[in-house]
Every structure is written in C-alpha cells, then in structure tokens.
Chain length 437, copies 2
C-alpha cells in the first residue's frame, strides 16, 4: 500500500482523552475513530488487524467443525422474556421499540436466539454434536464506557455455541473448544492463559476466562510456572496445559496446591461457559435420543472479544515509541521508508522494491511521502510494523538498504537482494503465497 493513496490519519500528538496506552495508540495511529461515547469506527489500518484476528478464529473453528452463521444484531425482546434474561441484563441491554411498538433489543449475546435456531433445525440425536459460531457486533450500554474498544459499547465479538447429547460428550466438547482457543491465540503470536472463572449471568457450572498477559491488565492471575515453558503451537503442549494450575484472583485457592505459583496481570479476551440444559429446557429445544425419548441437549458458549483482543495485543506489545505488532497480527509486515523521494532514482528503486515484495505475497506499507526522515521514522515506529526497510540516495549509491526490526531494534545493512532474502525468510509463515525461491 502506498501511503500517498492510503487513508492513514496519524496524529502528531498523543490524544488527551485516552487513559490507557492501547486506546491512545489506536487513536494516534489512525486505527480507530471515536464517534460517540464508547462507539468507534475502525479505520483501514485498524480494520486490517481486526480481519486478521477474524481469520485466525475462522480457521480454528473450521478445524473443529464449528460452522459460521450470522445472527442479526437486533433481537425480539420476547425471546429474552422467555428465557428470563430480559430483567437479568438490566440497563446494560439497549432496548427500543419499533414503529409498531414491538419491543426489540440490540443483542449483547446470543444463547437465546441460537437455541431457537437449533430447535427449529435439529430434532434428532443423529445430528449432534451441533456447533455454530458467528462474528457479529454486540451492544452493551455500559454506564461509563472507557478505555477505547477495551470497554466500548458497540463491540465485535466471536460467539460460538455447542449442543451435545450426554454430559460426557458436552464436557468433551467444552475441553475441545478450550484447547482450540489456546491454539488459536498461540497461532496469533499471543500468550494467553486460561483460568477457571465464575459464570455470571450466562449461567452454568464450568467456565474459563482467557487472559492475555500484560502489565496493564485489570486481573491478577496465578499459574503454574511450568506454563511459561510450553510452546502452545504444539498440540501436546496444549494437552499438558490442562493439568497445570491457573486461576483468576476470585477463583484462586492458595490452599489447593503445594507448588509455588507465578503471578501476573491479565486482560480478559475470551470467556467460555458450560451451562447444560439451561437454554434448551426453557426454550423447549428437545431432540429424540436413540430410544426415541425427548431429551434436552446440553449447551456451552464460547466468546472472544475480537476488538478487545486487538487492544489487549497492543497493551502487551508496545514501548515508548509505539506499537510492536507480532507478525501474525501486524496490519502490514513491512514498512518501506524511502528517504528523499524527490530524487527520481530513489522513487524508482523504492517503487520497484515495493512491487517485488508485494508480488511475493508480503504486505508492504510504502511511505512514499516527501516528509522529513525523522517524521517518517517516528510514524513507522508508532505504527509498529515488524520490519522497516529503509533506503535513500546514499544507501542506494552503495547498493545497500537498511532493515530495522521493530521489536528488538536490531539493524542490518544489506544489499537489496539479501534484504529480500532476509525478509522472505523471516516472514515465510505469514506470506500469502510463496513464489520466491
């Protein structure tokens, strides 16, 4: 993407209204735009990250035969009266009347509606297990929205739902989702700890939260030190993880284990609940079992705060100069900085390099502006793309370019060809195609 064609309203100064670093950086880099209290637009740079998160989630769900659907944002209040949740959720639910004075609400979650969909579709145990998810906007009318998209009112959430016949199958499904979640987060390059959690208004008796470890986190986590040695991109490591102690403060029981525990701050980005027949029973969503008897399938729900995850990633990955994106979620992989673009040779050579890298399936943000070097360096550090590729009249004279690694600060001076090899080697895992030999 050429900066000259792009929509990237980076602000020179730190936005004053932001209390936490992710909110500040998301506003300052032009990832989001505040529209009204707790409600944001996702601008092109931010939306690229959001879409990448979505894509990791979709892939993980596909692997466990969890099918995507899309429920409406607006729901009939009648359904919430049936399940008794209309009053439980209280003023946090945005409620309104349509022109015919029918009660509607903007869905904060979808257990009720998905159970109705399940009920109309599935009549027999033969079609279980049934697993569905969506990535859809939700609304929670927070009394004091704050911290940007971390605690906004309109927010993007992945919500998944499972239905099983027996308690044993339902529990197996629950743990399958839990392990899949751990793997999805690991694939995104994020360190996430699942901890036992209370269930709250969703209900049920088994629940885990998923926390991204970040010094700025609101929660305190206690966990087995062994956790830090696991590579969660390995399936066997994910299995091992289930044996390790981990709990959020509210559920932490110091007497329950003899080992020392680590302590860390965490930001909740996911929450899963097993609630059994709570919704199938009240909505009369029975199926025939293999004896022909009507039974209520057992359900769980599985949430990920998609927008919140983006903010949490920034909380866990930044320094005083700006964001330090993990390559998997970076809006672009490479920031190509051309210095002195009024020099036709610089412009030609940097454009050629931009084309070459793009053709290799790498995502390049090409700063082709005629601003000062300092302003270009600062902006690129702020945006936080994993690799900066810098060239100008001097370096080109020596057939050299410079690579700066954003996370470590390491710099390498290389020939153009070597730089391309360096980048394709480092970024091979995220290249959309692999046409380079």
């Amino acid at each position: 993407m050429k900066l000259s064609n792009y929509f990237l309203p980076v602000q020179r100064n730190k936005p004053q209204e932001a209390q936490i670093i992710s909110h500040q950086l998301m506003l300052q880099t032009g990832m989001i735009n505040a529209e009204v209290s707790g409600i944001y637009s996702w601008l092109p740079l931010g939306l690229r990250v959001l879409k990448k998160v979505e894509s990791f989630i979709r892939q993980g769900m596909e692997e466990i035969q969890c099918h995507e659907l899309l429920m409406p944002t607006v729901q009939p209040a009648e359904l919430w009266h049936k399940t008794g949740r209309y009053n439980v959720y209280g003023q946090e639910t945005l409620r309104f009347l349509d022109r015919h004075n029918r009660e509607l609400l903007y869905g904060p979650t979808n257990e009720d509606m998905v159970t109705e969909i399940f009920k109309r579709a599935i009549k027999s145990y033969k079609h279980l297990p049934c697993r569905l998810f969506q990535i859809q906007w939700k609304f929670r009318d927070e009394i004091r929205p704050r911290f940007g998209v971390m605690r906004g009112r309109e927010f993007l959430m992945k919500d998944g739902y499972s239905f099983d016949l027996t308690p044993q199958q339902a529990e197996e499904t629950y743990w399958l989702f839990l392990k899949t979640y751990v793997r999805i987060f690991a694939q995104m390059g994020l360190k996430v700890i699942p901890v036992k959690a209370p269930t709250g208004p969703i209900g049920g008796d088994l629940s885990h939260e998923f926390h991204i470890v970040a010094d700025t986190g609101e929660s305190t986590l206690y966990y087995d030190p062994e956790y830090d040695n696991l590579d969660l991109n390995q399936a066997d490591a994910v299995d091992k993880l289930l044996d390790l102690y981990a709990a959020e403060e509210e559920m932490h029981d110091p007497s329950s284990h003899a080992e020392p525990v680590n302590q860390a701050r965490g930001i909740e980005v996911g929450h899963i609940f097993h609630f059994g027949d709570k919704y199938t029973k009240v909505l009369d969503a029975a199926v025939a079992n293999n004896d022909g008897k009507q039974v209520f399938p057992l359900g769980s729900s599985y949430g990920i705060g998609v927008g919140r995850l983006v903010a949490a990633t920034i909380e866990a990955n930044h320094d005083e100069s700006g964001i330090k994106w993990p390559v998997q979620l970076a809006p672009f992989h490479i920031g190509l900085i051309a210095l002195g673009v009024k020099d036709q040779n610089v412009l030609d050579q940097s454009t050629a390099l931009y084309q070459k890298l793009s053709n290799l399936g790498l995502e390049v943000l090409f700063d082709d502006s005629d601003e000062s070097p300092g302003s270009k360096f600062n902006r690129m550090d702020l945006i936080g793309l994993p690799y900066q590729l810098i060239l100008g009249p001097k370096s080109l004279k020596n057939d050299e370019v410079e690579i700066k690694e954003r996370v470590t600060g390491d710099r390498h001076t290389l020939s153009t060809e070597s730089a391309i090899l360096f980048l394709t080697d480092k970024l091979r895992a995220v290249m959309t195609t692999d046409r380079y030999d």
Copy 2:
C-alpha cells in the same frame, strides 16, 4: 463439507409465509432463518454466498484504491440533526435513547458519519481523491417488511464514499465507480443494467441504479438492444456501455432516442449518487486547495445491497426444482451424491473422491447421508449447486460416475478420472488453488 457434519436445515415443504420465490427458496434450503418481522439470521449455507459477494466487492474496490473501514451500526442522532436528515428519514429510522437519555439511531446510511471522519483526517487537496467503503449492517424500519431479505429491516449493505477536489475529478470518480460496479457484477456472473435514476433523500443531481434482470423484478427497464451483445468482463465493453441508452421507467424518455429499445423487468441491487458539496458544506469539511484557499470537496456515495443481491440472484436463476447458482456465487461448486452409503465400498470411494476434489481447491458438499436417492436428488436440485457428481454401487462396478449440470440438466457418464478432469476444467476459474495438472 460432509452433510453429516454440517448445519443444513432443508425443509421438505415450501414455506407458506414466503410470497416470492427467492424468499421461499432461501428459507426452504436453510440459507436464512426468520427471527422477527423483516429480520433474518444467515445460516451457514446462505452465509457462504454472502461472503462470496463480499469478496467480489472487496476485490473491485481494492482495484480502484477504495479503502475499507467499518463504521458502527449505532450513530449519534446529533449528527443527523446537523445535516438535517433526522427529519427527512422519518419513521424509517430506528431511533432510541441510551441509559443517559442520549439520542441514538441505527444507521440506515452513512454519508453524515463518513464526512465527519473525512473532515477529521483530511485537511489538504494533496490527500485527494479519498475513497472509502464499508460492508456493514443497516436498519430501515419498514412499515411492512416483506419478500425476505429483499426488503428486510436489518440488511447488509456495501456503502462507498468518494471525495474529490474539482467537479471534473468528482465526475470522473463517479464514472470510475459506475464502471467498476458493472465489472464486479459481471465477475459474479450476473447480468446487471445501470440506469439513470432519481436521487431521493441522499440528494444530488446524478444517480444510477443497478438492476439485475429477472422476470419477477419490480422495476421496468428500457435499454439499447446492443447491451445484450456486450461481454462485460471485457473493459472495452464496459466503456461502450456508457454510450448506450438505459433508463428505469420513472426516468425513461421515449422521445430522447430514435432506436428501438428493449424492455425488461429488473431488481435494484445497487444505487450510486453524486451529491457534490451537500455534506462537506453542512458539516464544514473543507480542505485547503493549492492556493491555500478553503474549499468543500465534492462527494458521491455508492451502495450495493449485499443481502438483496443474493435474493435477486435467486430470482434470476431458478426453476421449479430450486436454485440454479452461477458458479461464482454458488455456496459449493459440487454436490457429491453417494447412493447406498451403507455399502462400505461406496462410502470409501466417495470419501476418497471428496478428499481429492477438496484438495484441488474445489468446494464440495458431500451428501453422505443414508436417505433415499430421490430425497438426495431433490435436495441437491433445490440447493442448486452447479455440478452434481453421483455414484453408487452399480456405477462403481463399471468404474463410472455421473455428472449432472444443474443449469442445463445435461448428464455425462464418465470414469472417475475423467470426471475430475471435466470438473477441474469447468471450474478452473473459481478454484481457490490450482494444484491439478
């Protein structure tokens, strides 16, 4: 996708509540589910089509440097008071108060908000042209919602916006979008006619609607017979199209041309408007021109009804047995029908074929159920995938499979290898990868 694992609640009988064929077929095939008047869930089969439409649109927008963003569904009413549209839109706008009694609304369109975003970001003519789009849910509180997603209340829309410095540039951008729209629709395999249209509450003096030709269309179109000879996948044909007469009934002027005109029924799936400085002026979104003078950029907006387009495609492509998807938008490319799956040989061979085709990047819905042949054939005709691939104990004895083309009804008896070659040849353009030689 194996049917045994999938969520596909096909109804045996025609839904009684549907007045038009697309609504009936979308309900019956389990593409959508009615939640409350004019509000639908998109179930997995329907969502696959919706996502394909989105993907064609994204690709077309990317080609003309139109950048994707995502504005919230909920907007502050204050903004609509400023532009004077709060009252113009009247009761069709879903309005509500939040818990602090602040007036909000569910956005039916976004000219106001995108102009505010533009205003905060762009201060100089140097950053023009500026082109943005989103694919987001909208709400229009129709007094009598009907025809399923064709005239629903919550609906998915692609809305694009452009800002230019001079009237000439703004008009060039308008025509660029118009041509891009024609190409996007052609790439989806749809015949769409752009016609001059009145502007309505969006405002402005130049407007076109895009109609899919279908006998069941609500609109009457008049157009140059030459239109039918153009292959709109060719850029030069798109250019030629601009010289041809085409108008919707309301704008049709029989005296304006001597040639004979064709007449057809059409369904509106897109609408574009050039409205000049209407929104930049009222929201004071000026930029500095190259003399340093503050001027109001000139805007246009560009809509496509994404969900409506799916319904319109069905209106234009069906027969008495069900849907006849164009390959580009089909939820799957191939329906693999295994007859007599209790025969282990049939199950093994059909599963192997399913794997092979999937590995080639083809999307296969594999009916591995043990239902009767008649029930399987009817369901596959109803769903309307372009190619059916049929095998059973008898055909396998002769090392043969049968291919049925859904649109023409043509049947071919082929060896398994020849069938794969036949399908990869026919479907090469839509294969996600191309690993077959």
